[in-house]
Amino acid sequence: MTTTCGYCGVGCRLETHVHDGRIASITPAMDGPANLGHTCLKGRFAHQFSRNRERLATPLIRDARGEAPRPATWDEAMERIVAELTRIRSAHGPNAIAGLASSRATNEDCYAMQRLMRAAIGTNNIDNCSRVCHSPTSYALRKALGLSGATGSFSDFDHADATILIGANPTEGHPVVGARIKQATLRGMKLVTIDPRRIELADYGVLHLSPRPGSNAAVMLGIAHVIERDGFVNRAFVDARTEGFDALLELLPSYAPDAVEAISGVPAEGIEEAARIYAEAANACFSWGLGVTEHKYGSEVVQLVCDVALMTGKIGRPGSALLPLRGQNNVQGSSDMGALPDTYTAYRSVEDEDVARSFEDAWGVPLSRRKGYTIPQMFDAAVAGDLRAMYIFGEDVAQTDPNTAHVVHALESLDFLVCQDIFETETTKHADVILPASSFLEKSGTFTNAERRVQLVAPAIDPPGEARTDFEIIKAVSRALGHELGWETPADAMDEIAALTPDWAGISHERLGRRGLQWPVAPDGTDAPILYERSFTRKGGRAHFAALPYKEPGDAADDEFPLILVTGRRLQHYNAGTMTRRTGNVELMDADLLEIHPDDAARLWIADGDRISVRSRVGRIELPAQVTERIEPGHVFTTFHFPETRTNLLVGASADVNTSCPEYKVVAVDVRPIGEEPAKVPALAGGA
């Protein structure tokens, strides 16, 4: 059976091989457009979680807070959900209820979930986990260019003469694209890496820059300054296809390379060289990850990235593309599907009268024109008592969202919490009802990868025990609440999506075939591997330059918290680790580690492997240290794969100004050794 991988946003096509109702092996599909016959250790090997004995196999109900949940029947669970949600809606109104869709689930699951919240409950309080990763990318691309998606495809790396990779570590986070970029560099593509860590790909590039966390905007403005100063602006393109360039020009004199060096710590000559490499290349790409977005001004940096591409005209043709590396398998699709508090499918506003009417006509119920809560607003509202119930599907907010103490406080403040997941998680500890759901190996539907490619997902095995597919569960809950979704299969849901969404008009499961389609897809099935070849999808067809100055990040090192913590992902594990921690991958990596530079480690009397304390303004954790030169002095790095570490206790409330995406990448911390062993003498004087 051929399916699409459920780990990262690369969208590898996989062949599943089943024996006795279990996955025996997974191999890459030779014709997968994103993976070209390759996969990584997550897609290929990390499938044993699907039959792990801790899998939820029956609904669970908690009769009273503090008690352990007990197994229950589906009927009992449904009755409880309907009774509680109905009671809370009549007492406090529909806006006292909120739902979270999952970027790990299919487009059809997410579409069903937003319809359940909007039509069955009557609220726009629906959001998904892209809020905490690439919402700034989505916002910025829509503002600058028109559509919320990569402007090209991964194959653009094969045609590019140069690429600037910023705030991403693809050989660990997106290994198959990482391998593809590496192969491109071996064939001669010039790679510039910009990251506070010296990532593996830096060794394959021609230039590595290590800006201080939070100073990406200055680096982009510095590159724009050099491009303008040295006459690399593509005037014909700027005049014919863009607006707002003059405002950017007014800003650039303040960002000479020397000035940028003072802000970012990147040597002036590094800025000069990066600008020249990008500008002189006939075709060049930009690619970025959460190191760009998860900042106070993340959405502004993405707009500045667009500026640099626009001023050189490097967009809308093979080899010249903007390629955000989306984190989760369906983080593109969950937002495309309207699982957002302010938009229906394809990012059309809930305040748009015509759009809202089209959905009212299709669903036969009146719909709210008022924007709902974003995820952080949901937690604030729960603590304030305005939000009384949540239905969280496929997301472990208590482990992955920032400011864990606040999240837990919010979950405990709710009158009623439903979780729908494949394992018990930190979040289900606070749930009143837990519904056993399905992994990507057990369901059908579609995922949309980071290239906007909608690809089919096909079940290889059955869900364990009484577990059901998310699609079936959401259908049943909606029916029990009195709103019949009216679809037999996920393919029926896709037909409704296509009928109500012009950009998806030509998509049907039948038409997707083995290679998928990249939206927008015309009614005749023509898809769009490259966007903006002739015009931009904004009013007047012109792209928009943003003139945005550098501003300081939300947190900064000081005497009490002298180091800056950056968080991210490692090759062997995936986000909250719910799946990968239950596979052989733990043999390859079994704990979160804090990367620290040898200079800092020596100064703090920390040796490799020592257990250390990390304290921020909002929390404190303990974990082992890993002394490495991959990280710059003054910075430390760790992951959030293991719940026992609880890394996100350290992350505060600072968030992107436009999208409230949390600032996971800049946290001032104090690091020191702990334990009863006498402190070791740091590398004898000579090593310091």
């Binding site: 025996a24 030779m30 016959g37 996969t39 250790l41 290929r44 090997f45 290994p175 192969q183 090759l571």
Partner: protein, 206 residues
């Protein structure tokens, strides 16, 4: 340009190989060291074909097409050599390859049975299972180089190395320290391409 494969005319692009042309014509050519994800290597000589005007058989995977070329995939001399190559490869193995492997399928299709040349075979050694997913079964290695090239050309990790020479040729991770201690990133591309199960998944070991 146009090429005739067993009398079937096909149009191929500049730079296409004879193996590409045979594929376009729907004609089978046995291969062992070839993987479409990798650059042609030309090591195993299983893909020999007859080419009009050439005195000796030529390897299809590394021979570029010329306009007007005439190829015979079942040229008797070429097929005789290719069959002998596969038979020699089999003669070094301590046991016949598992039926799902590419080597077993090529041998079967060429009608190679029990090798006619008894003699020294690779000694059976315990499978190397120090990695949670990837296992070596060194006695099954036929030195086709596919795993090494998959690691280089597909993944870009360069963790695998061809070791030894002659009868002792084999493959190793890093300095023969096993997958885990080497630079291996566990992508499994080597196991995916291996035509004999010399590298396979631990969970699929017999």
């Amino acid at each position: 340009m146009r090429v005739a494969v067993d009398g079937i005319d096909v149009e191929v692009a500049d730079g296409a190989t004879v193996l590409d042309a045979a594929g376009a014509a729907g004609r089978w050519v046995p291969t062992l060291c070839f993987d479409e994800r990798q650059a042609p290597f030309g090591a195993c000589r299983a893909c020999l074909v007859g080419v009009e005007g050439s005195a000796a058989p030529l390897p299809a995977c590394t021979t570029p097409c010329r306009d007007g070329m005439a190829v015979a995939t079942e040229d008797p001399a070429a097929r005789r050599v290719a069959t002998a190559v596969v038979e020699l490869v089999l003669s070094e193995l301590p046991e016949p390859p598992a039926s799902h492997t590419e080597l077993a399928q090529v041998a079967d299709r060429l009608g190679v049975g029990e090798p006619r040349w008894p003699g020294e075979v690779h000694p059976k050694v315990e499978a190397d299972t120090r990695h949670p997913y990837l296992a070596f079964r060194h006695e099954l290695c036929i030195s086709c180089g596919r795993c090494v090239r998959a690691c280089d050309e597909l993944q870009g990790t360069f963790a695998l190395t061809a070791t030894g020479r002659g009868f002792g040729a084999n493959v190793a991770a890093g300095l023969d320290e096993g997958f885990r201690a080497s630079a291996c990133v566990s992508c499994g591309a080597c196991a995916d391409t291996c035509p004999t199960d010399a590298i396979t998944e631990v969970s699929l070991l017999p």
